[in-house]
């Protein structure tokens, strides 16, 4: 993902982060790696957009953060999905599905 700050991309990033954390607590770097790996290098989250997004999501109360120790015994900040975050994730997933289906429908029609 580029550093474009459009709302859609921001929203999408939030969705990806929430989904990533649904699998368990993770620190910022781990989230980056996970998204990059699972999307097969298509989506690369720049740190410059990740941390503001994380901060915003944390302010909204969808994730909680606490300090912990990483795999190589380093102090890192772990993020965890909250209950509100779970609900938000479900809602955003539904939205995303609806959006992509709509786009797909339009594309199929045009051809």
């Amino acid at each position: 993902m580029t550093k474009a700050k459009s709302d859609v991309l921001q929203g999408t990033l939030a969705l990806l982060v929430l989904k990533t954390l649904a699998g368990g607590p993770m620190h910022g770097y781990g989230i980056t790696l996970h998204i990059q790996r699972v999307s097969k290098d298509v989506l690369r989250v720049e740190e410059g957009s990740l941390y503001p997004a994380l901060h915003r999501i944390e302010q909204e109360g969808w994730i909680c953060a606490e300090w912990g120790t990483s795999e190589n015994n380093r102090r890192a900040r772990y993020y965890r999905l909250s209950d509100a975050g779970r609900k938000q994730l479900a809602a955003e997933e539904k939205n995303w599905t609806r959006l992509t289906e709509a786009v797909a429908a339009v594309l199929q029609f045009a051809s």
Partner: protein
């Protein structure tokens, strides 16, 4: 984002900054490690990790900018900057300050006057009943022709509109017999002037019906301001004789019977801001001829009539 959490963010800003710093550092460390694991040299690894972050300061600012209260900080910074710039151009600053001061001062002055004269309610009971009575002849478009004495009494007793009516005539006068001679505003009134207003004397008394004799009578009520100024707030002013315009009262001494409480006097339309209205000497409208001759003829056209509306007493 709730305002509360944003405000909390502002208060804990140092802790948040520290946390963010440490978090970013650990992130860079981890990526450096991974880079080295994938074959880069240590410097390359670290450089690559840091490069991904781009401008660290910008990143931190962006992260913090998510808080809406950031604009308060920005406002503070802008204010300080504005202050610095103003200090650098003193001429402009001076002119701006003078203009503002003039504008504000003029407004305050005018509205003080407006408030005292127009907006402040009269300090008498039932001020809405106090009215000014005009004597115009509509047909010939003449204004202020004055009323004769019988007309006045008719207005009071038989019109059913007024509880009481009082006539005043304002004048300038010289006062002697006080600390020093002074020219003051003088208000000749009916004996029932104070009872109509519903005002009492602070010291002494106002007029009694006994004062309502034809001609000018002796008692005088002085205003609080003049009492302080001319008599030094001496309570013994009651009973003291003063002379008002020697020839106005035919050389008769008047003695002060009362000091009116401080506050604007006279009724709507002639509020006196400085409380300088000196005294109201009682005079009776019963006649102008039967009493002592005065060098000034007070014709009806110089008088003003005030009344208190409401059901007549009788």
């Amino acid at each position: 984002m709730s305002l509360l959490s944003r405000l909390k963010g502002l208060l804990q800003i140092h802790r948040i900054e520290r946390d963010l710093d440490e978090e970013l550092r650990s992130h860079i460390e981890m990526r450096t490690q991974d880079n080295m694991a994938s074959g880069m040299s240590p410097q390359e690894a670290r450089y690559d990790a840091q490069r991904r972050f781009g401008n660290a300061t910008l990143l931190k600012e962006d992260t913090r900018a998510v808080d809406i209260v950031g604009w308060i900080e920005a406002a503070g910074q802008n204010l300080r900057y504005a202050g610095r710039m103003l200090r650098r151009s003193p001429g402009f600053t001076l002119v701006a300050i003078l203009t503002l001061a003039l504008g504000i001062g003029a407004n305050v002055a005018i509205f003080t006057v407006v408030h005292a004269v127009l907006l402040r309610p009269l300090p008498y009971p039932h001020p809405e009943q106090l009215v000014r009575v005009y004597d115009d002849i509509r047909s010939s478009n003449t204004h202020g022709v004055g009323m004769s004495v019988p007309e006045l009494w008719d207005l009071r007793d038989r019109s059913g509109v007024f509880q009481d009516i009082s006539v005043i005539f304002p004048a300038d006068a010289n006062i002697t017999g006080a600390e020093h001679p002074e020219r003051v505003e003088f208000l000749g009134t009916n004996a029932n002037y104070f009872t109509m207003l519903g005002a009492d004397a602070e010291l002494g008394r106002t007029y009694t019906p006994a004062d309502a004799l034809p001609g000018f009578s002796e008692p005088v009520v002085i205003s609080d301001a003049y009492w302080r100024r001319g008599f030094g707030a001496d309570p013994k002013v009651i009973g003291q004789k003063i002379r008002i315009d020697g020839d106005l009262l035919q050389g008769r001494w008047s003695h002060a019977t009362g000091v009116s409480p401080s506050g604007p006097y006279a009724c709507s339309g002639c509020r006196s801001l400085g409380n300088d209205r000196l005294c109201r000497a009682a005079f009776s409208c019963a006649s102008h001829s039967g009493g002592p001759a005065s060098s000034r003829r007070y014709g009806p056209a110089q008088t003003r009539t005030y009344g208190r509306s409401g059901a007549s007493a009788t």
